[in-house]
Each structure stands twice: as C-alpha cells, then as structure tokens.
Amino acid sequence: MNRIVIQSWALLTDAYRELNSKKLFWITMVLSCLVVAVFAMFGLNKKGLTFLWFEFPLPAFNSDIFTPALFYKFVFATLGIPVWLTWVATVLALISTASIIPDFVASGSIELTLSKPIGRVRLFLSKFITGLLFVGLQVAVFTGACFLVIGIRGQVWEWGLWLAVPIVLLFFSYLYSICALVGLITRSTIAALLVTLLCWFAFFVINQADDLFILNRESAELRVQDTDAIIAKRVAAAEKALANAKEKNTPYPIAQEGEDQLETINPLLKFARQQKREAEESLETWQMWSRISFRVKTVLPKTTETIGLLGRRLLSLDELTKLGLLRPDANEVESDETAEAQPNDRENRRRGPMGDSRAAKRLQLEMRTRSMPWVIGTSLGFEVIVIGLALIIFSRRDF
C-alpha cells in the first residue's frame, strides 16, 4: 500500500513537471487570463454596453432590460465556455498534450518505466490523467477568474459556474481518449493530433446534422399542425356556407363525382389539404433521419451537448427568452389570424426551418430534455471503450 502511495505521488509530481516544462501550458494560461481581463472590462449601464470608459448606447441591451449578473452569465455561458474553452483552449491543449503518450511509449523511454514494480494499467492511466490535468488546471483558473468577475462586477456569486471544470474536463477527455489511443498505436504525435481533430470535426458535423434534422422535423410538424388548424377552420367555414346556401336555397357550386363538396365551395381547403399531405410526407422523412442521427449520436461522444449542459444549468429558458434568444410564444400553434398578426413567421417559413423561431425553440426544448445520463453516460461509454482498447494494447505490447 505504501509503495502504491509513493508511486502515485511520484507520477503526479512527474505529471506536473511535464506540464510545467511545456511552454504552451503557460502561454494558454496567460491567454486565458487575458480573455478574462477583457471579459471584466465589459459592463452594462442604463445607456447600453460599456468597455472601460467607453460607452456604446444600445436601447435594447442595457441594464434596465438585463441585470449585470445575467449579462455576465450569458457571456460566460455563450462565449467563455463554448468559444474560448471549447475551441481555442482545447485546440491549444490538444497540441500541447498530444505528445504525452507517443513520448511515453518511445523506444528508450518506456523500457525503464516498465521495468519498475508498477502495473501497466496504472502507468498508462497516469499518463492519460496528465493530459487531463493540463485542461483541468486551465479550466479551473479560467473559471475561478470568471467567478470573481461575475461576483464583483455582476454582484452575484454564481457557484454553478464551477460546473465548467468537470464539464470541460469531460468534453476534453472524450477527445483525449482518441488522441491517446492513436498516439499509442502509431507512436506519432502528428498522427494522434490529426486523427483527434478529424474525429472532433466528425462529431461536430454529426451534431449539426442532428440539429438540422430535428429542426426540419419540428418545422414539418408545426406545418402539419398549422395546416390542420387552417383546414379545420376552412372546413367549418365551407360547411357554414353550404348550410347557408341550402337554407336560403341559393345556388352553390355542385361537386363533380369524386370531388369533395366542401373543396368545391372553398378551393383553398383543397390547397390546405394538399399542403398538409406534403407536410406529413416531409415530417415522415425528417423523423426517420432524426431517429438515425439520434442512434448514431448515442454511440458517439456528444461534445457539443456535453458543453451545452453548462448553458442548461446557468441559463433557464426564461432567461434565454429574456435575452431575446427565444420567442415567448414560440410553442404555440399558428393560425391564420396569428400568422397575419405576426408577419415575421411568414418570413420564417419562407426562409425555411433554420429561420423558424418556433422550431428553434422546440429544438432547444428537445436538447434540454435529453437527460444528463444519456449525454454523459453514453459519451463516457465511448470513452471507456476507447481507453479500454488502449489499455489492452498497452498491456500486451512488447516494447
């Protein structure tokens, strides 16, 4: 037991020394601090946005509309984590840590380590954790600084911010597991880095495709609902017109064989029914594709959704609505009247599902209904398989 403690401490110390020797570690750390400093320089007042002593008057974006706390949380959750930590800092971290496993298994280095009384599984995992430590320290410093900025400038001590550390660490660990496996197999830093970046890009594309399929599906479903409402209204109107004509014995167009009498009275009803059939066909297609993308995503790491967990935790739907990112009535079914009252929605439909704010809100809702165990559990499942494979290879390989 004592030996295990001594070895573990030595491996941890070694991990720190290795990180400390990497210039990029410190460069990234300094850049993170600069980003937080710039973050702190922004502020909100009654007129609008401020940067140091400069003012940018924005009638729709000032402290009368948003609290400073909401503003800072919004910036942290939508820029700090998804842009800085998830993209810029992660790329820097991958560049810095991609060489850890190839260097570890390089000829001349590995023999000495393997000749010590320590298991291969522990050795490999310790090196894997070294890579994670890189990101863990970076995120901890960044989050800590943001926590202070939001606390001091926004007057709210948002403890939920610290959730960024495990979430970004999780996100990075999905990618780093691939990096470690490829680094072990090829012993090449470049190969490990390239394959990891390619996989990351593939996960991103799959996630975007999933979003697109859901958006189209929801848009089609909304169209079905919309046309249903319109059909119901037109049927009622046509029935009323037919009844009136019969009652007053006034002439009305008689349907030919095989034609619907109501459609003959109101030709727009036929058009609406045609639209509904088209919408139903479209719905069927997008349902199928969204089912496929969901299944594919289930077995792959969900990088975007993992990071999205933080946004879900920090910003509620109400806050998103308040920030203008969601329409308050976006979940309602549109009628002819509302469509007429809200010409923007007609515009949305013309622009397709990407511009449909009701579908966008439904997408947001669906993403928020995907449970944490599904998002994290299945992603970790992927990671466990990749790391397990690496451990099997490492344990059985002759060096």
């Binding site: 020394r17 023999e111 002759d398």
Partner: protein, 401 residues
C-alpha cells in the same frame, strides 16, 4: 567519475539477503521462449543460471536475442513461454522488480527532469521512501561523479553523463540484482574503468550483476561466468576457465630470422614416435626419415587444409603442418612457432630438450589460453561455411531483433 564506493559511502546499501531462503541462483531459467508476431523465433528454450553475488556476462552477435532476454527478465516483453525464476520468484513477477536495478541500452530519460529528479522519480517508482531517496541520490550522484550536475536538466547532458545517471538510477532501490545493458556505451576510457571497478565492488557487496555488453575484453575482465547466445540459444555457459578447458596449449617460439627455414629442425627435434603431416602440397608424399633414432616415425605431406577448428578459435591461419606427440597431444606448426595442444606442462619438456639438443635458440615458451573473443568467434562462426552467422534470425526461423 570516482567509483571508490567505500570512500563515497556506498555502504548505505545493505547486503542482500542470502542463505538458503534466498536460494543459490539470482536468475534460474529453464525454458524461456519468445516467438514474435510473424513467427520470428527470438529465443528458443533459453536455459541459464546466474549465481547470487556474481558478475554474469551475456554475449552474442547482433540479433542473437540478448536484448529480448533482458527485456523478458525486466517484464518489458512478455515471453511466449517462461519457466524459471528471478530472485526466487517466477519470471514476470512485478514485485520482484523492486529489488532489481536496470539500465536499458539506448535509454532516454524525460528531458524535463534534472539528474537529481531522475534518481528521485525512478527511486519512487520502485517504492523507495522520500528520506531514503534523498540520502541515496546524494551518495549515488557522488559515486558516479555527477554531483555538480544534480540540478541541471538531462537534455543538456552528454551521452556519457546520461549513462552515469542511468547507472546511478539503477542502484536507487538498493537492488539484489542489477541488469546492465551496455553500461559503458558512450563512456570514456576512464569512466569505463570506473564502471568496471564499481561492478566489482557491487559483487563484493553480494549484489548480482547481469551484464550485457559487446565489449568482450570488458566482459572478460569482470565476469565470473558468461553465456554465449547465438540464434536464440545458449551455445555455451560457464566460467572462462570452464569454457576454455581442453583448449589451452603451449607455444614454443624459436629465435630465428627466417623461422620458415627452421621447420625441418622442428621436425627433427620432435620426440620419437611423433607424427607430423605437412599441409598445402598438391599431393601426399610419404617421406622416409633419415637413419636417426630421434626422428619422427613418419612425416607425411598432404593436401589437407587444417585451417579452422584447430582449437584456437579459428582466428589463426592454417598450420603449415600438424601431428601428434607420442603421448597423444596434438601439435601444430606455424612458421617458427610450435603449438602443443595441452594444458599439461610435462609433454613440453621433451620437445624443449629436443630443440635445445639441435642447437635451436628458444625465444619463448608460454602457456596460451583462448580469450573470450576466441570463444565468441568460435561460437558465432558457421562451421560449415567458416563465416560468421548473419545477424538476426535464420531465414526460416528467425533469431530475434
């Protein structure tokens, strides 16, 4: 590097456990086989014994399987079949490694570590506590002459300095067995001598040293026992005396400006009843000796080539003539030198007497023992072709990497 262990306080290391419980053998292999992927047979049933407290030299040509064997002992490579023990525990047992020191060939330490940190890290990996590590690191750095470089990063070290640090780290866990793979690689002559002295001191303290080196003279100078590995098999094993037994001979050199011309004198000087066959002639011609009682009973000139396999490691040219003394010892004649293949000095006396009676001036009479290099060359030369085996595996079987 000053390797005077007594002076540098190397005595901090306790003598390893001995006695019956520890067993006689530090390494006792009965059957170690390694077949790499693709069917390359690197080791084919290695049988090897290394006594506790001795310096054991492992030698063999490139690709003989030496590194594979060492790596199997150190668990860097998994054997296909491994029957045997290291320090009394089965080969591959990880716990045993806490009492084994290892210096790999072409080792590479993490370049972000200083010399002192290297010792500390690898000591900790063996489970040595912090206080002991500090104490030993100081002692060992002093021992290998690297105290002044303790706080300098390894990436600034020369090859020889890295080797010194490597040797020091192999001793950090107070090992009972030290496996050194080419320890003098890149080390200057003074450093080499110091390393040899250090190995001797380790032995004196009861530590077993398993030495893998290409430098045969170095091995010969320090090894108690050696094993020669060829194509994945141990072809010979034992002390140098054991390996050279029956291969020692006496050499009588005469003082003559043209030794070749003295050959007839040699022939006449041999005791009665000796036979001698001359080599290099086109045909066999039997020569009748002159009417003299002290002439060899028969002298034959043959076309046989007696080169190679002459008991001298195959490194000498074919003899001019060969034959037998009446007492049965083989004799070889090369120019002005007569070689009598025996370690017994008695049969030599009659030959010396005969030469002196013929008025031949003797420059030297000396017993000759084959060197380790002779043994090695003999082992690695293919007797059918007379050429050294090609490095690595035989075409269809393979012998390692």
């Amino acid at each position: 590097m000053s390797m005077s262990i007594a002076e540098t306080g190397f005595g901090v290391f306790a003598a390893p456990a001995g006695g019956a419980a520890a067993g006689e053998w530090a390494v006792d292999l009965t059957d170690v086989t390694k077949v790499y992927r693709g069917g390359v047979h690197a080791l084919r049933g290695i049988e090897m014994k290394v006594r506790r407290g001795e310096i054991f030299g492992l030698l063999g040509p490139n690709g003989a399987g030496k590194s594979t064997l060492v790596k199997i002992l150190m668990t860097v490579i998994a054997a296909t079949r491994a029957q045997g023990t290291v320090l009394g525990q089965p080969v591959g047992n990880k716990d045993t490694l806490s009492k084994v020191g290892y210096l790999p060939e072409h080792h590479r330490f993490p370049e972000y570590l200083t010399g002192g940190q290297v010792l500390d890290f690898y000591g900790a990996m063996c489970g040595v506590d912090r206080a002991t590590r500090r104490q030993r690191a100081g002692t060992l750095l002093d021992l290998v002459g690297m105290t002044a470089w303790e706080r300098k990063r390894v990436k600034g070290y020369s090859k020889g300095m890295r080797q010194r640090i490597g040797i020091a780290q192999s001793l950090m866990n107070d090992p009972s067995l030290v496996v050194l793979d080419e320890p003098t690689d890149g080390v200057d002559p003074v450093g080499r001598r110091d390393i040899r002295n250090m190995m001797t001191t380790l032995k004196e303290r009861g530590i077993t040293v398993f030495l893998n080196s290409h430098l045969l003279s170095e091995l010969e100078a320090v090894s108690d026992r050696v094993a020669i590995l060829v194509k994945g098999k141990v072809v010979s094993q034992g002390t140098i005396d054991e390996l050279t037994a029956g291969r020692q001979y006496y050499e009588i050199e005469i003082d003559a400006p043209d030794a070749q011309s003295q050959q007839p004198t040699f022939l006449k000087a041999l005791p009665m009843g000796s036979t001698l066959e001359q080599s290099g002639h086109e045909s066999s011609v039997a020569e009748s000796p002159p009417n003299s009682a002290d002439q060899p009973s028969s002298i034959q000139v043959t076309s046989r080539n007696l080169g190679g396999g002459d008991g001298n490691g195959g490194r000498q040219l074919a003899p001019d003539a060969s034959g037998l003394l009446p007492s049965g010892e083989k004799i070889l004649l090369r120019g002005g030198t007569l070689q009598i293949l025996t370690s017994d000095h008695h049969p030599i006396q009659a030959v010396i007497d005969g030469l002196r009676q013929r008025g031949v001036a003797i420059r030297s009479v000396r017993p000759v023992r084959p060197t380790l290099e002779d043994l090695f060359m003999e082992a690695v030369v293919d007797p059918t072709t007379g050429k050294a085996f090609t490095p690595g595996a035989a075409e269809n079987e393979g012998a390692g990497r």
